[in-house]
Structures are given as C-alpha cells and as structure tokens.
Symmetry: C2
Subunit: 571 residues, 2 copies
Amino acid sequence: MSRLITLSLCVLATMALAEARVRHYKWDVKYEFKSPDCYEKLAITVNGKTPGPAILAQQGDTVVVEVTNNLGTENLAIHWHGIRQIGSPWSDGTGGVTQCPILPGDTFTYRFIVDRAGTYLYHAHYGMQRGAGLYGSIRVSLPDGMAEPFPYDYDKSIILSDWYHNSTYEQAVGLSSIPFGWVGEPQSLLIHGKGKFDCSKLAPPSSDPSACNATNPECSPYVLTVVPGKKYRLRISSTATLSALSFQIEGHNMTIVEADGHYVEPIVVQNLFIYSGETYSVLIKIDQEPSRNYWITTNIVGRNATATTPPGLAVLNYYPNHPKRVPPTNPPAGPMWNDVAPRLAQSSAIKARQGYIHTPPPKSDRVIVFLNTQNKIDGYYHWSLNNVSLSLPNTPYLIALKENLHHVFDQRPLPDQLPGFADYPIYRVANNTNATSSNAIYRLKFNTTVDIILQNANSMIVNNSETHPWHLHGHDFWVLGYGIGKFDPDNDPKKYNLANPIKKNTVAVHPYGWTALRFIADNPGVWLFHCHVESHFYMGMGAVFEEGVDKVGKLPSEIMGCGETKGFKTP
Amino acid sequence: MSRLITLSLCVLATMALAEARVRHYKWDVKYEFKSPDCYEKLAITVNGKTPGPAILAQQGDTVVVEVTNNLGTENLAIHWHGIRQIGSPWSDGTGGVTQCPILPGDTFTYRFIVDRAGTYLYHAHYGMQRGAGLYGSIRVSLPDGMAEPFPYDYDKSIILSDWYHNSTYEQAVGLSSIPFGWVGEPQSLLIHGKGKFDCSKLAPPSSDPSACNATNPECSPYVLTVVPGKKYRLRISSTATLSALSFQIEGHNMTIVEADGHYVEPIVVQNLFIYSGETYSVLIKIDQEPSRNYWITTNIVGRNATATTPPGLAVLNYYPNHPKRVPPTNPPAGPMWNDVAPRLAQSSAIKARQGYIHTPPPKSDRVIVFLNTQNKIDGYYHWSLNNVSLSLPNTPYLIALKENLHHVFDQRPLPDQLPGFADYPIYRVANNTNATSSNAIYRLKFNTTVDIILQNANSMIVNNSETHPWHLHGHDFWVLGYGIGKFDPDNDPKKYNLANPIKKNTVAVHPYGWTALRFIADNPGVWLFHCHVESHFYMGMGAVFEEGVDKVGKLPSEIMGCGETKGFKTP
C-alpha cells in the first residue's frame, strides 16, 4: 500500500515536472535591411529573421521570452496573440494598455503559461510596428498522451502577411496628417515572409541597383515540401496589416479543423478566407499527380487590389521533385474580391467540433453594441465605436487602474450603444460630426457574461463598407452569429447559435454586416478589443475592457517607467 | 542720502528683474512630411518647422522649453549647444549622458540660464535624430546698456545644414551592418532649411508625383533681404550631419567678429569655413551695385562631393529689387574641396578680440592625447580615440555617477594617451586590430586645467584623413594651436598661443593634423566630448568627462526612467 502511494507520488511528481517545463527564448530585436519581396527596405527582425523564430511549447508550459530592444531610438512591446495571460495580465504586451514600452537598450522578460494547445501568434503591439515585420507563430502541442481528434502525419506552420515598401513611420504620419495620407494597398503579399515584387515596376536608374533584386534568395518563393500519400496539418495564420486574404492550394481541398486554438467541426473548402489575427489548421492529403509541384496562392479579398497587389505565390513541392521546379500550370485565380457571400458563408459555417463544445451561458448580463464608423475629428480621419475614437493614455491602463492613478484617463463610463443607434442609417455615408477622441474604457463586472454586437456601416466613401477583423485580448469569445444589414435587437438574438458556437479570439465583421459575440469577464486584467487592421487601430478603432483588476496581483515594476510611473526606482 | 540708496535699490531691483526674465517655449516635436529641397520625406519638426523656432533671449535670462514628444514610437533628447549649463548639468539634453530620453507622449521641461551673450544652437541629441531636421538657433543678446564692440544695423541668423533623402534609421542601420553601409554624401545643402534637389535626377515614373516638386514653395531659395548702405551682422552656424562647409556671399567680403559666443579679433574673409557645430558672426556691408541681387552659396569642403552634392544657393536680395529676381551672374564657385591650407590658415587666424581676452592658465595639470582613428571591431566599422570606441551605457552617466550605480559602466580609467603613441604612423592606413568598445570615462579632478591634443591620422582608406569637428559640452576651451603632422609633445607646446587664444566649444581637427585645447574642469557635471559628424559619433567617436559630480545638486527625477532607473515612482 505504501509502495503504491510512493509510486503514485512519483508519477505525480513527474507529471508536475513535465507540466512545469519552461521554454526559454532570448530575442534580439532590431532593424535590418531585408528583401522579403526582392525590394530592400528596413524590417524589424527577431534574431535576424522576419517572421521571427517560432515558439514551440506544450500545453501547460511556461514560456519565457527575454526581449532586448536594439531598435536604436524606438521603443517596443510584443503581444502574444491568442494567449489569454490568465494570472499574468502584465505580460500581454500591449503598449499603453498593459505595459510601458521597452526602451532601446533594455531587456524585458515576458513570462506566461500557454494553457491550451493550439495555433497562436506573436507580433509587435506598439505604434504600427507589426507592419515592419515583427511577427511569428506560437504552436502549443497537447500534453503527452493526449491526441488530436484528427490524424495527420506532419504539422507545418505558414504565416500570411502583406508588405509595404514605405516605412511604418511614413504610414503613421500620413494617417495623422491633413491632407490625409492613406497607406493604400500593400506592394506584396508574403507567404511565410516571402513574396515577389516586380522590380521592373521601379523605374531605372535606381539610385542603388541592389534596392530591388529579383534573384535575391531572400525572395525566392516559400517552398513546402510534402511526401505523396501523407496527410498534413497546415497551421495557416495571418498577421496582415490591412488585407483580408483568401488562401488556396492548387488541386487540393482543405479541411478546416482548428480555428484560433479551438477544434472546428470539419468543413472542406477550396478557399480558406482568413482575416488578420486569425489562425486556422487545415488538413490536406498529398494525393494528386506526384510528378509535379503545385501552386500555393493567396489573394486579397474585400478590397479592390487587383491593379496594385499581385497574388502571393508559394510552391507545394511533391517530393522528390525539385523544389525549384515551377508548377506547369498558371497559378489558379483567387475568388472575386468583392464577393461577400462565400466569406460570410464560411464564417457562419465554422462551428465547434462535436465532443469539444463548450456551450455559452444562455443569457448575457450586458449587451454592448459597437457601431463601427469612420469619422473626422478636427479635420483628421478616425475610426470610431459609437462615435468615440480610442486614444491611449500616456500611463498604461493596467498600471493606472491598479495603482489608482485616476487622473490619467477619462473615468466617465461610455454608453453601451450609440444614442439613437436604432435610427442610424448604416448604408449612408458616415458624417458623424459629433465624434470625439477619448481614452475612457468599459468596466465589466467580474464574472458577468457580456455580449458584443459589432455593427458595420458605410465608411465615408459612397457605397463602401469595409471588413474589420476584431481581436479580443485576454479572452476567447463565442461567435453567436453573423448577419448582413442592421442588427435587430428583438429578433436576431433569437437566431443565435447557442448549441455549438466556435470560440475564437479574432472574428470578422463583414461589409454592412453584424457579428455577435459573447464572453465571460472572468480574467482579471485590462484587455484591448480592437480592429486588427493596423491603420484602423492606429486611427482609434478599439475599446478597452477592465474586469476584476482588484484581483490582479502586484504588478512587476518592469512594466512601469512611462507616464506617471516614469522616475527613479531605488535599486 | 537715503533717497540715493532707495534709488539705487530700485535700479538694482529693476536690473534683477530684468536678469530674472524667463523665456518660456512650448514645443511640439513630431514627424511630418517636408520638402526642404523639393524632395518630400519625413522630417522631425518643432511646432511644424525645420529649422525649429529661434530662441531669443538676453544674457542672464532663464530659458524654459517644454518639449512634448509626439514622434509616435521614438524617444527624444534636445541639446543646447554652446550653453554650458552651469548649475543645471541635467538640462544638457544628451541622451545616455545627462538624461534618459523623453518618451513618446511625455513632456519634458528643459530649464537653463543663458549666462553669456552670443550665438548658439539647439539640436536633437539622441541617435542620429539631428539629421532628421530637429535643430535651430539660440541668440543671446547683451544685457541692457551694454554694446557689442562692433556696430551694425541689423542682426540675422542663418543655419547651414546638409540633407539626406534616406531616413536616419536607414543611415544608422547601414553604419552598424556587415557589410558596412556608408551614408555617403548628402543629397543637398540647406541654407536655413531650404535647398534644391534636381528632381529630374529621379527616374520617372515616380510612384508619387508629389514626391519631388521643384515648384514647391517649401524649397524656394532662402532670401535675405537687405537695405543698401546698411551693415549686417549675420550669425552663420552649421548643424551639418557630415559636411564641412564653405560659405560665401557673392561680391561681399565678410568680417568675422564672433565665434561660438566669443568675440574674434576681426578678420576679413571671402570664404567662411564652418564645421558642424560651429557658430560665427560676420559683418557685411551692403555696398555693392544696388540694382541687382547676389548669390549666397555654400559648398562642401574636405570631402569630394562635387559629383554628388550641388552647392547650396540662397539670395541676398538688395531692397527694393524683387526677392525672386535671380542674380544675373552664375553662382561663384566655392574653394577647392581638397585644399586644406586655407582652412587651416583660417582656423589658425581666429584669435580672441583685443579687450575681450581671457588668458588661459599658463600650464595644464593633465594632458590627454586623443588619437583619432577608424577601426574594425568584430567586423563592424568604428571610430575610436586611442583605439577605444565609445558606447553609451543604458543608464545615463550623470545619473549613474550621482546615484552611485557603479555597475552600469566600466569603472576602469582610460589611458591619457595610446600606449606606443610616439610610434604610431599617422600616415599609414589604420589597421588597429586591438580596438575595443567601451563605456569607460575620464574623471577629471575638479578645478584642474586639462589639455586635450586631438591627433588626426589616416582612416582605413589609403591616403585619406578626414576633418573632424570636435564639440565639448559644458565648457568653452581655449584653442592653443593647430599643426599638420604628428604632434610633438616636446616642441609643439612651446608654440601654443597663450596670449590671445579664442575660446570655442567646437573646433576642427584638419586632415593629418592636430589641434590643442585647454579647459578648466570647473563645471560640476558629466560632459560629452565628441566629433560632431553624426555618423562618426554614432560609430563611437567621443569621450566622456566627469568633474565635480559630488557638487551637482539633487537630480530632478524627470531625467530618470531608463536603464537602472526605470520603474515605479510613487506619485
């Protein structure tokens, strides 16, 4: 009997050791000249690379990332996208919300537990730095002895992104200028950091012939080598700054099995629509004619970039064909950029997998309706929720709230919906002249259930409504439903899917449409909820939720040092 | 009697009031698209302008500048060049030396006394930001009732600079890359913020036709309107990032009367040679044929930029001719770029004005010989003093020294001359393989007299020795002498000018030459001494002097917040 107890204790101790594994990374973040699409420009790299190194961990591990800011004169913060930071809200890496930025020369240590297997991301979250190339993947595997509900032979990650030739500085200054300088469509789409800009578009003589070099190996297409007969799990994610994307593999159907770390009731697609901040796993069978390679492509949808941004191309290399062998076909055309219906259909089709359903509470305690509009404030373009455009305070919210610095942001509550929302004409050009900038926040009662209705509308351009991928920090939310047109608070909630809604951290609101979400405010901290389009968030498209901040433990002093917390700490 | 005393007290009180005047400025520093030479790029502006607003004050005034950093993601520090900061060493504005940088969104207040009339500058002193356009002039007038020793009718300031089309980020990353990316010669020379780049050099089709626009009023030539028969004091200064300059006014001699805030025994020149960080006053008579305008020109000397950088042009507009009337002559050619002799002659000719001579102590207590060389360290190019390349610590020196944070920089003393200096072959290509980077400093005994010998040498290119303008913070120094060739410690000091040496804060060391300086270490603080070429300092060409830091008063907490002083200050 005592031997049995001892054995059990040993097993438990071993398991505890396995659970307590620490994945330690040391990252050097700096600017470097890179040519991801053959055009040379400055990029922000992690240990010399963009995308940065993948974080590979197992459920329950502690991830520790020591980030050294070698950007010279620029600060930095890195967000761990999809990681809920339960118990570590100060490690969320959101500049202005959960921490002061990391100063040049400083090393900051992020430490958090990856509590659920799945596919996640990391990326810079300060200014528009993500667009400069600081992003990468986080792959969390199941605990030993647990199996995925779908078999596969190999597991690969592919990050999609878009790429601009001007700097994030130039983009940001344009956005906050009169006249307005719009960032425009990206020059390239990148598949795992590789694209192909047509250098001949640059007029000769370039001042520097190395500025665009089609033979630079940095911009050779990404090659995914696969073994015929095998089954692959591809983890597809997007860190695009602007573009909604469609992803295809020539001749191969994809079965979606995971979204944002949650299992999906399998659905077979030819086009995977993916919005910035989303992650998916798809399964593919390597079952086509094995004597050739196939195109992997990605296209912009939701915006007309046909004249400006060529599709992103990569190669599915059937082993043992040569990886540089060009597929004998033309890359297949993507879907029509302005065809909303299949995108809405795919969004709506994604449900929680049978056997892995977490049903939501049947009712919510609070409903917040966010009308998404464009506005002008003092002549500057903004994006707003209910006519309020978010401006971050100089002292991060988490610190301000925990340290009772009430004066650093507007303490007044924001309304749960726009006064007069019922009469707001979503199909009319926005001319909300009473919009304001504010750093006020939403304070949520701890452990209550909150519904968010994201209501899209016309922008300031006639007959234009954009696609916005909304990302919530610190949480997954249930996606209760989508619709086109004005949300009907009386009837639409009756159609909510409460049976098997998917949980996600990022969700699209489609043109002129609405999306309904539900989450439980059970994670003590301060959490940003924002459009994942870099320029939209820069222009104020976000909100901040506080919940249970009194339950947050003592803040590490390392997150301080700006705003009201700038000053001398006795060493 | 008592009435006389009362009257005297009133006069004293009035004078005291006048002396105590505070000049208050509020500055908004941000990036904006500007076209100073017709080519549009991001510039750092102060209140929307580059050059920024001039600071106008009277001797004894207190200048207060509230600087708000609206650069978005980038920090900031501003140096008040030529102001000795007696009693306010924390206001010197030297990132990494006297303060932590100003974070985005923060407002930092500089407060200092301008204790001596003369011509000074301000400019960014963090990273290579000066090159992005943050600079301006400081003009300190004499106290009421005091007169300059030279008459003039009008007083005008002109700042010269050079201008690059790439960003300071791109420049900095190139300098710290393998392979080395040299910044090259500037695209333009600016006269008071205006230059003219030849837009036709850009190949069509430009992606944006507004990117270079020869008719943009921002790049119309600078016009100095003058009244015939009058006498003008022109305060000429240079904030060039790289270029040594020659300045000319067609058909007009210039009489140099001031240098770096000190009166010069008048000398008449046709070319004013001016090195980055220097300021001069020259007098000109408006005595030429009044029916036309005249060219004002500036050229690069010391480097061969004839193929790359056209002369900077402005117009001396004889009133009432139209200011846009082009002078009927071709702009006069500047001096030969590689003719060192006249530059050395002019440097040597500048002496303190009779009646305003402060003679130096006849002997020094310490002599430091700084051999200026280029080196490679771990494959990266550096500039070094005695084979030591300066790297700034993460916690500024002033804070580290005052707060006894001994571990933040190397406490070991640096040698007063290179071991084996006597045998160092200054005409041979530098191949100092034993160079190191260090953040060690020179600690000077308070109130002692220090001589600095700046010894130039060959760079890493055959038959090349550059011109370095050396600038000392917190002090003026006497310029005791110049020479070409190797400094002879036995004989050259005998030729020092101890009778009427000029005092300056910036001085040139000419190709293969030496320059001897003397100063008294009587200003408690920590002071940077560095080559004022932005790229050279970035590559380590500087040293740091500490003197009497124990006499420095309590440091304002506002200068802290980085490195070891990052953290929470209880509000």
